[in-house]
């Protein structure tokens, strides 16, 4: 394939010797705009850098991208740059498949600390490991509460006052829920409960409930049976089975957004990365607000960082580093943020005049930015997909009324421990005798 690409590049530029070819794996929804915008950005980059030729390759969801990157590395054909879900970075460090960025940063005359200081503090946790940089934050998100102004008015709620605490939240959700005979014509709250989303939102609730959720410094521990997590899951359980304000079972993103657009959901939790999609498709007024809090304001970071998989030639690596710096420059990162809804990880992006104008015009985007102050790291462990799935299976069982939060989380913890066991035995439990 690389040969084909190279050939195509040669034919296009007419220069047989010139460009270093690199490929960029990126995971964004392929349906239309985002993929096209990425293609446009890369085109601009290629034009500005005649000695580099980047091919953008859409690689599916975050999980798919992880899978494909891993497979490509094992097959000896690593992509040059990947936009990787930020919480997977740690696993690549553990399996030694990722390039440490410190030398590249130092070559540019910067220190790792100074480099990372250019990004919002909440993002550094998932981009660094043991004081070394492995990822460069590209587009990031937090879960947001979206709510329909019309639904709020209809339910006698004040759309200028979004629920702030869990108590206000569950009360609002109850009021928003509307029945007609046996059917619910409007749910108070909906959220995606499918894999990936489910774990992310649950971790956010647990953090808001005072918890850590996972060991931020070590990839072998998660805290599923701690009171903070149990309480978070119990809250979801209450939302579904006590307040009956959220549909039972698992709802996927499509069902959630379709219901919200059709006025059949008063509130929804969705990523800030969906802002543009909601803005384009929601016909009636809507607002965004912080994820309501239990004990503290908190929201997990989501989104992705740019990483360099190991196994590429120095030329490709150097070219990839140029691309990374370009993509994360304030101008480009800011533009991508305005286009997608993800917030720009680069602090300086928000000092640009066009960004200031945009934020004034779109207060929904400002909410995401303000929430950043309370953002935490995204849980990352050894075998993170399996460890996450253990939790998600438990939460799904609770949402479906098939298990109590305590029982479900006990099982989840047990499974997660088993999955991390091989790593734990070789690290934390491997002590001098």
């Amino acid at each position: 394939m690389r040969f084909q690409l190279a050939l195509a590049a040669c034919l296009l530029t007419g220069a047989a010797h010139a460009a270093t070819d690199i490929d960029l794996f990126f995971p964004v929804s392929v349906q239309g705009k985002l993929a096209n915008e990425m293609a446009r950005l890369v085109e601009v980059f290629n034009k500005d850098h005649p000695d580099i030729h980047v091919t953008p390759v859409y690689s599916g969801s975050y999980d798919d991208t992880n899978l494909k990157t891993h497979a490509a590395i094992q097959a000896g054909k690593p992509p040059a740059v990947v936009i990787m879900s930020a919480n997977f970075v740690r696993e690549y460090v553990i399996s030694d498949e990722i390039v440490q960025l410190d030398p590249l940063i130092e070559k540019d005359g910067m220190t790792e600390a100074a480099f990372m200081d250019q990004f919002w503090p909440a993002l550094r946790l998932n981009a660094t490991e043991d004081g070394h940089a492995y990822g460069v934050p590209f587009h990031n998100s937090t879960p947001l509460l979206y709510y329909s102004v019309d639904a709020f008015k209809d339910a006698g709620l004040d759309p200028d006052h979004a629920p702030v605490t869990w108590q206000e939240w569950i009360d609002a959700a109850t009021k928003l829920t509307k029945h007609e005979g046996s059917t619910t014509t409007r749910w108070g709250l909906m959220m995606p409960g499918t894999y990936d989303y489910c774990g992310w939102i649950t971790s956010g609730l647990a953090m808001s409930n005072g918890g850590e959720f996972y060991n931020t410094g070590y990839g072998g521990e998660v805290y599923y049976t701690q009171p903070s997590t149990i309480g978070a899951v119990r809250f979801l359980d209450n939302m579904v089975h006590k307040a009956k304000a959220m549909p039972e079972g698992v709802t996927d993103t499509n069902a959630v957004t379709t219901a919200f657009f059709q006025g059949r959901a008063g509130m929804m939790i969705l990523s800030t990365g969906s802002l543009s999609f909601v803005r384009d498709n929601m016909k009636t007024p809507y607002r965004t607000a912080f994820l309501p809090r239990s004990l503290v304001n908190a929201a997990p970071i989501g989104g992705a960082s740019l990483i360099l998989p190991k196994g590429n030639s120095p030329e490709r690596q150097a070219a990839a580093w140029v691309l990374i710096k370009w993509l994360t420059s304030p101008e480009i990162a800011g533009g991508w943020s305005r286009f997608t809804g993800y917030f720009a990880p680069r602090i300086a992006a928000y000092d640009l005049p066009e960004m200031k104008t945009f934020i004034t015009a779109h207060p929904d985007a400002k909410v995401a930015l303000d929430q950043l102050v309370y953002a935490r790291g995204w849980f990352s462990t050894y075998n993170v997909v399996g460890v996450r799935k253990a939790l998600e299976d438990g939460v799904q069982a609770v949402l479906s009324g098939r298990a109590t939060p305590e029982a479900a989380m006990a099982k989840a913890q047990q499974e997660a421990d088993a999955l991390m066991r091989p790593y734990v035995e070789q690290t934390a439990l491997k002590v001098p005798e």
Binding site: V30, Q31, A75, N281
Partner: protein, 274 residues
């Protein structure tokens, strides 16, 4: 002529068959109806406006359909060409020749009917990597180059042919290969066509193996591309666009089937196993 099937049963069958068609009806209606992700008449089967081709153009521009079509055609065609060679030769050997271990070999061939590549994904991927075929179109094709089903089919087809032609050719000094190519294959076209239809349908529709055997999007086939449509990342889906994308993937075979229905039906029953 008196009916063997009572009228009410026929009506019931009509209703059931129409029920079977509903997903396609929705696909057609939804892909021409351009009304965004949150409209209330999403599910209506009544064609209602605004009609436009916008969903098709959105789907076309957000996927890489030309590339996916090309890859799918290359994969199906490549598999078929090689299969035609391997199954004709082996089919002839089993139909017309006698050799030591024939029955054992035949049974060994038969095993492949069951051990389909998706089941053997883990070791087959390792083989592809070792052969430097991982993430290439030939890598998708390679496990299908031999087809036990095709061998059986050709063996059966050859057996129905009279031997006189071959015997005459043998006497004239033709080699086995010449006999197969010049004499038998032209007479076996119906069998080969049946095999071709089944083979192309199977590989056009296959998903799991091409999904796993490739990683770069430039090697994606239609089914793998379509899956990226259905599974949106963090936002939601525009149903009209999904319907249009599904239409692109399904249309070629559906159209071929309606046009060449008799040929298709006899091929599938002629054959059976994929």
């Amino acid at each position: 002529m008196k009916r063997e099937i009572p009228l009410f049963a026929l009506l019931l069958t009509c209703a059931a068959a129409l029920l079977w068609f509903i997903p396609f009806a929705w696909m057609a209606v939804a892909s021409f109806r351009h009304n965004g992700a949150g409209a209330t008449d999403l599910a209506s089967l009544m064609p209602s406006g605004p009609f436009s081709l916008a969903n098709f153009s959105d789907a076309w521009s957000s996927g890489h359909f030309p590339l996916w079509y090309l890859n799918t055609v290359l994969v199906c065609g490549g598999i078929l060409i090689v299969q035609c060679i391997t199954v004709s030769l082996a089919g002839y050997a089993f139909a017309r020749m006698r050799f030591a271990g024939q029955n054992t070999l035949f049974a060994l061939f038969l095993l492949q009917l069951m051990l389909v590549p998706p089941i053997l994904i883990v070791p087959n991927l390792a083989t592809l990597v070792a052969l430097h075929l991982y993430d290439t179109l030939p890598g998708i094709m390679a496990p299908y180059f031999a087809s036990a089903f095709g061998v059986f089919l050709m063996r059966q087809t050859f057996r129905t042919l009279p031997r006189e032609y071959e015997e005459a050719a043998l006497v004239d000094g033709a080699s086995r290969l010449q006999i197969i190519i010049r004499v038998l294959l032209p007479l076996s076209l119906p069998g080969l066509t049946a095999f071709a239809i089944v083979s192309v349908t199977t590989h056009w529709n296959e998903f799991l193996w091409p999904l796993m055997a490739t990683s770069s999007p430039s090697n994606q086939v239609l089914t793998v591309g379509l899956a990226t449509f259905t599974a949106g990342a963090e936002a939601g889906s525009e149903w009209g666009v999904i319907a249009a994308g599904t239409f692109f993937v399904a249309a070629p075979l559906l159209i071929a089937f309606v046009v060449f229905q008799r040929r298709f039906v006899s091929s599938f029953t002629f054959s059976g196993i994929k």
